[in-house]
């Protein structure tokens, strides 16, 4: 799958490129409006990651041109602006998703996968790992095609791990993603441990082939057997 990164910030561009290459995408980059426009006209991409503010023009008008060319490329807007107006404008112009800087690379990967899946004919909107399938739209989890009952927080935790398979996840990140900003001054993470214990039990009982492993003193890692 081919991905085009349109980003003028060299450091961010480099890290995205490195990560996505590591995730086995074919990655191309463009740093300017003109450069991006030429590449978009000449090639088709599975997904275009579009920065709104470019030195020689706006990412939004790039998006407009792309749609005018009748191209079906998926577009995820990446912007440092976290304003509703920008989000709405971008999505109205036909962007598939909107990601605000700073973001997690694994989050980016999950979004890319999600938009590509969504636009595949007959494609399922599920995240699959081993014999576990997670349906983000329906908030459902299936193990061996059988749905399992998860509480909201348990589902959120599993979702968080499923889009970061094999990656080391630290407790703060996990807690903040699942519980929101409430936890930013907490020094005791027992509540995470309790939830993960229950989740592990449920996964094991359903015979799941994935496991959330503790990495002592650091956090957790989702391992697929």
């Amino acid at each position: 799958m081919k991905i085009l990164i349109v980003e003028d910030e060299p450091s961010l561009k480099e890290i995205m490129e490195r990560y996505l290459t590591q995730e086995r995408y074919i990655v191309e980059t463009a740093e300017t409006y003109v450069d991006a426009m030429r590449k978009m006209e000449d090639y088709d991409y599975s997904c275009i990651l579009l920065d709104i503010m470019l030195p020689d023009g706006s990412g939004l008008s790039l998006l407009k041109n792309l749609k005018a060319l009748n191209k079906k490329d998926n577009v995820i807007i990446i912007s440092a602006k976290d304003s509703v107006d920008d989000k709405v404008a971008g999505l109205e112009l036909g962007a598939d998703d909107y990601l605000t800087k700073p973001f997690d690379l694994s989050e980016l990967n999950a979004r890319i996968k999600s938009v590509i899946r969504r636009n595949q004919v007959g494609g399922q909107l599920s995240i699959v790992l081993g014999n576990v399938k997670l349906y983000p739209d329906k908030f459902e989890v299936h193990v061996n095609e059988t749905p399992i009952e998860l509480l909201r927080k348990e589902y959120d935790i599993l979702h968080f791990f499923m889009i970061r398979p094999g990656y080391l996840v630290n407790k703060t990140n996990l807690a903040e993603s699942v519980w929101g900003d409430h936890i930013d001054q907490v020094d005791n993470f027992d509540f995470i441990y309790a939830q993960i214990k229950n989740l592990r039990k449920k996964l094991k009982e359903a015979g799941a082939s994935i496991e959330i492993k503790s990495v002592y003193g650091l956090g957790y890692r989702l391992i697929a057997e």
Binding site: E9, S11, L12, I15, M16, R18, Y19, Q22, A80, K81, D82, S83, V84, K101, P102, F103, D104, L105, S106, K153, G166, Y167, L168, N170, T172, N173, A175, E176, W179, G180, D181, H182, I183, D184, Q185, V186, D187, N188, D190, F191, G217, L218, G219
Partner: protein, 429 residues
């Protein structure tokens, strides 16, 4: 105390002193003049009597219709030599016609007849009229003096009020202006040079302040905006690095710690951006928010997260609180208020929430001393340094309250910190 009152009081005090001196001087001059006149008539009278006596003619009878009286007695040469000229005095005299003793002005003089015999003539004019006169004069002086004082005070008051009108207009204009908002029009036309200059100076200061405030806001906004991308890159690099299998556990821990600090920075930056946005009125869309539901949902979350602290939470709802607000902001407002109550609590402490028609009260136990009310709502105020705390939570509460004119209060009573929000009727449903 108003300027007009102060000036009026001062002028009255000075006038009181001045007029007292002035009235006394006036009174004494007047009395002196009256005595002078009386003495003149006494002299005339005595001359008349002496002339008559020397001519050997009949002296006027004692009952001549006036209360004037006279008395002639012979004196020795020595006595006459010692008492030359006219001698005046005020004495009590028995008046035959009235059969009573009255105060009188007395003139004593010596004269000599053709036989070189010396006589002393004593002439008396009762000063009944003089007493009355004194009284009347004193009465009128006091009355006129008070009248004058009151009229001067009133005129002064009125003139000052009129003259200071531009000053009061300027003051009310200043009061209507809050920094960060549009500068109101200053319509304060005046012909007085000083006030004109004051108007100009105030307008100029207001404009410069507004400009500086705007610049500062822009700077914070831009700075936090520009910091976002490098922060993201740092975070992402560390995340990638963390998954390098060749790293030792020690190295991993270091990276994790760095990552946590970075997270803190990201959060700080995000909150500063949020504050800037609130202050820039970037949360325009509003909807009806059920504060009761929102509070209960957030309390559930906090209860779970702070379960290890065993905090006793209770909520009392006497009514539904439903303001029209921006959804994001209402969430931030309630969340930060509640978070504050949990974070600064102690083990086995309490959090109580009271919801009324237009009020939300959050009470919590915690450190047993009052916090400075004006300080705690400022940015980066931290009573005691907490790891991971941005020190911006209550600053957010403050900004949102200011935006919606919500009255916020902090009190400390019975070892409990009490935060009270009073929602204005204008945003209540």
């Amino acid at each position: 105390m108003k300027l007009v009152h102060r000036i009026t009081i001062r002028i009255s005090t000075v006038l009181l002193l001045l007029l007292t001196v002035w009235a006394s001087i006036f009174y004494f001059i007047l009395m002196d003049e009256i005595n002078d006149e009386t003495d003149d008539s006494l002299e005339d009278y005595s001359e008349q009597i002496i002339t008559l006596a020397l001519a050997g003619r009949q002296l006027p009878s004692e009952n001549n219709g006036t209360n004037n009286s006279y008395f002639i007695r012979p004196v020795t040469n020595e006595y006459a030599a010692q008492h030359e000229g006219f001698r005046y005095s005020d004495e009590m005299v028995y008046i035959e016609s009235k059969k009573e003793t009255e105060p009188a002005r007395i003139l004593k003089t010596i004269f000599r007849n053709s036989n070189d015999q010396f006589f002393e003539l004593t002439v008396a004019i009762p000063t009944i009229e003089k007493d009355d006169l004194q009284e009347t004069i004193l009465y009128w002086i006091i009355f006129l003096y008070l009248l004058l004082l009151v009229s001067i005070a009133l005129v002064n008051f009125w003139i000052l009020r009129q003259s200071f009108r531009p000053l009061y207009a300027l003051l009310s204009w200043l009061r209507s202006y809050t920094i960060g908002q549009k500068i109101p029009v200053l319509s304060n036309s005046t012909k007085v040079e000083e006030f004109k200059r004051l108007n100009e100076a105030m307008l100029k200061t207001a404009r410069r302040n507004a400009e500086m405030y705007e610049q500062q806001k822009l700077f914070i906004g831009h700075a936090s905006h520009e910091i976002q991308t490098p922060l993201a890159v740092c975070k992402n690099r560390l995340e990638l690095l963390m998954n390098d299998p060749e790293l030792s556990e020690k190295q991993l821990k270091e990276i994790l710690k760095t990552l946590e600090d970075l997270e803190h920075l990201v959060k700080l930056n995000r909150t500063l951006l949020l504050l800037t946005k609130i202050d820039n009125f970037q949360f325009q869309d509003t909807k009806t928010i059920n504060i009761n539901d929102l509070t209960k949902k957030l309390l559930d979350d906090f209860n779970e997260v702070f379960a290890h602290q065993n905090i006793d939470v209770n909520i009392e709802e006497s009514s539904i609180l439903q303001p029209r607000m921006n959804e994001t902001l209402s969430n931030i407002l309630i969340r930060n208020l509640l978070k504050n109550a949990f974070v600064h609590n102690q083990e086995y402490g309490q959090v109580s929430v009271f919801i009324q028609k237009s009020e939300l009260i959050v009470e919590n136990s915690g450190q047993t001393r009052a916090l400075p009310e004006e300080e705690i709502f400022k940015r980066f105020y931290q009573g005691s340094k907490k790891a991971g705390s941005t020190g911006l939570g209550l600053a957010l509460v403050n900004s949102i309250c200011k935006l919606y004119n919500i009255k916020r209060e902090y009190t400390f009573n019975n070892d409990r910190h009490r935060f009270r929000l009073v929602f204005p009727a204008s945003i209540l449903i």
